[in-house]
Amino acid sequence: MTSSTSPTPSAPTASAPDDPVPFLRPVGRDDAEWILPITGHWAASHDWSPRGFTASPLFVDAVIALAQTTDDARTYFAVGCDGGGRPVGLFQAVTVDPISATGELHVLIDDRRAATVRKLLAQFLRRAFPHCDLRKLHLRMADRFDATTYLEQPGPVAGRLTAHDRAGRDRYDDLLVYELWREEAP
């Protein structure tokens, strides 16, 4: 059985600015400046938390405020940056059930800088599992994407949600649901 007590807070720590490798850093108030524009594109906001709502600036501010609550074991947020320090995506462990120690992994990716997502996501998982004291995270992804682009070790597929995600007028993608187990995290 897993514990539901709050683990020690573990805020992401940024690398040095000239570090050439991708890195995670805590979410800051200024992140609204890059988050807001990409939430205007369906492809980028694919399966992000708002699930079809048009994200207002106030909503994004609320997400950032939640993300800055680093002592809350029910969520874990980080911004992934490329080697140049430019934001690549917002990573979130949310919808945490502390009793069953499960949660959902949501990502908001800036497609222009997606090349480093896999490394960043691996870093994120290494931190999110202990922070939220989780056994497992679920990630939903449209089947048109190659999971290995995002995941170093795609977990088992729990199933396929048929014709789930609106991808255009009268067009719906299947979603694959990946189970990411803590013991198999990169």
Partner: protein
């Protein structure tokens, strides 16, 4: 009280759905905190000290929820909830609580079908999902197999009485929802009187 919501009467032959109100909480508290329902949706083992604490929790789960009232006795026998709605893709999950003594009865299914019909026809959802514990599916599988499609299994997903149970995700597309051409559904959904 037979409510109309979004123009639809949420009433079957033996049950009616009512929007969740404070006066329902005492009955729902007894129902959800009894054995064995406390181990199932929506508490999964959580315990609240009073009905007043249950209300806000249910509200965090859903803004689209109705109690199930038995028409002849007036008794609250359950709750149906719309969960995790996706307005872009028009999908939504469904949570159901039912008094344990009715789990083996067929007629409370009517409440679920009324809710499904409401979500498709009044709310315009395109696809619905049901999350079901493996043990629940074992119990009620014969009732679901003719209208729901298994799509996903979350392995060892929910802690129930000190062991992890699988959760099955069953889907239903609106294009497959045709109650008026199905004798049993048509009968269950026929208006009272």
């Amino acid at each position: 009280v037979n409510e109309r919501v979004m123009g639809m009467p949420l009433t079957g032959r033996r049950v009616t759905l009512e929007r969740l109100r404070g006066r329902h909480l005492a009955a729902l508290y007894r129902l959800t905190h009894a054995e064995p329902t406390i181990h199932e949706w929506p508490l999964y083992g959580r315990h609240f000290a009073s009905p007043d604490q249950l209300g806000p929790y249910l509200e965090t789960l859903s803004h689209l929820q109705f109690v199930i009232r038995q028409r002849d006795t007036g008794e609250v026998i359950g709750l149906v909830q719309g969960l995790d709605e996706d307005l872009r893709s028009k999908t939504i999950g469904i949570g159901v609580v039912l008094a344990p003594e009715l789990w083996r009865s067929g007629w409370p299914l009517e409440a679920l079908l009324v809710f499904v019909d409401y979500l498709f026809r009044a709310r315009g959802f395109r696809k619905l999902y049901f999350h079901m514990l493996a043990s629940t599916l074992d119990r009620v599988g014969s009732v679901t197999s003719w209208w729901l499609t298994p799509e996903c299994v979350y392995r060892r997903h929910v802690l129930v009485q000190d062991r992890y149970e699988d959760v099955h995700i069953l889907g239903l597309h609106r294009r497959d929802w045709d109650p008026h051409n199905h004798p049993l559904l048509r009968q269950l959904l026929s208006p009272p009187g």
